[in-house]
Symmetry: C2
Subunit: 153 residues, 2 copies
DNA sequence: TCAACTTAGATTCCTTGGCATATAGTGCGA
DNA sequence: TCGCACTATATGCCAAGGAATCTAAGTTGA
């Protein structure tokens, strides 16, 4: 029973921390770069995985294809990303950052890095961060391997 | 620099895990109890803190007052919670669960407990869970103490 | 004691994601 | 090579949260 309570508490704390971190990153990214955290993460993924398709983004973030398509619309409308025809399959597009998008993501990454160092680094010591990082990396890989929480559409 | 990368990875892993856990809990709670995770958390808070006001819920979850007001509307509309007049301040109401709401939250808690045991317990050993729980409990208390990521309103 | 200020929460508009459906493009087997 | 099933994505409608605004109700100081 105490195991079960531990998991409930852990999940609650996790969601609370995530909400507050996300809110803070949203504020700073919006103020300094005109984007929000989900856009930062999408841009970073595209920078590190050029030539991805909409479905690849959706799988990475465990959100629906439709939502992903719309989020790419918004990035394209702002001139930060482009859909390029996929020569080997005309149903899909290959996504890439524009030059503006590349500059933006690099600048935004510095903002995020600073904010996280301040917010997390200010509360946890290096060892605790390392241990937590290891645990969530493991959990993430298991959840992804088993396709847990992957949306339908 | 590797510290900064660690924090970026940790945050990314955190958000991915949280998304997948949240998606899964949503699915199971919706299917078995007709609620979603955010409603489960609100009901649980009200069960454990009867007589709270809308602002107390908002502070707990670090979401806006308006959104909280609407979410209480929904709980009330379903007959799971009620607003009772606050005798000492007529601007606010005191919130309480109905009998149905109490039964619901207890049943839903079992569902959540089982799901988390399966999803997290299946990937991390007891020691890793305990360490992570400690870290996030600490982080949460610091973020709340410093009012970090509290929405405007 | 009343006018200015503050506080609690409700309401409105906007954005974003989920889900269902629509459409275009692929590939395979009869 | 035609057609049928499948795949990739786009689109329309709905639910939920954020920000700003509005109203009612306390509070305070001259």
């Amino acid at each position: 029973m105490s195991d079960a309570d531990d998991l409930l508490s852990l999940f609650a704390d996790l969601v609370r921390c995530e909400t507050r971190l996300y809110n803070t990153l949203n504020d700073r990214l919006r103020e300094r770069h005109g984007i929000v955290t989900s856009q930062f993460e999408a841009l970073r993924y595209l920078r590190d995985h050029p030539g991805s398709r909409v479905a690849d983004l959706a799988a990475e973030f465990a959100i629906g294809i439709g939502a992903t398509s719309k989020s790419v619309d918004r990035l394209e409308r702002q001139g930060w990303a482009v859909r390029q025809p996929n020569p080997s399959d005309r149903r899909s597009s290959l996504l890439a950052l524009t030059h503006d998008g590349s500059r933006l993501v690099d600048a935004a990454e510095a903002t995020v890095t600073d904010a996280l160092a301040e917010l997390i680094g200010g509360a946890l010591d290096r060892a605790a961060v390392a241990t937590a990082a290891q645990a969530f990396s493991k959990l993430r890989s298991v959840l992804e391997r088993d396709q847990i929480g992957t949306p339908t559409g």
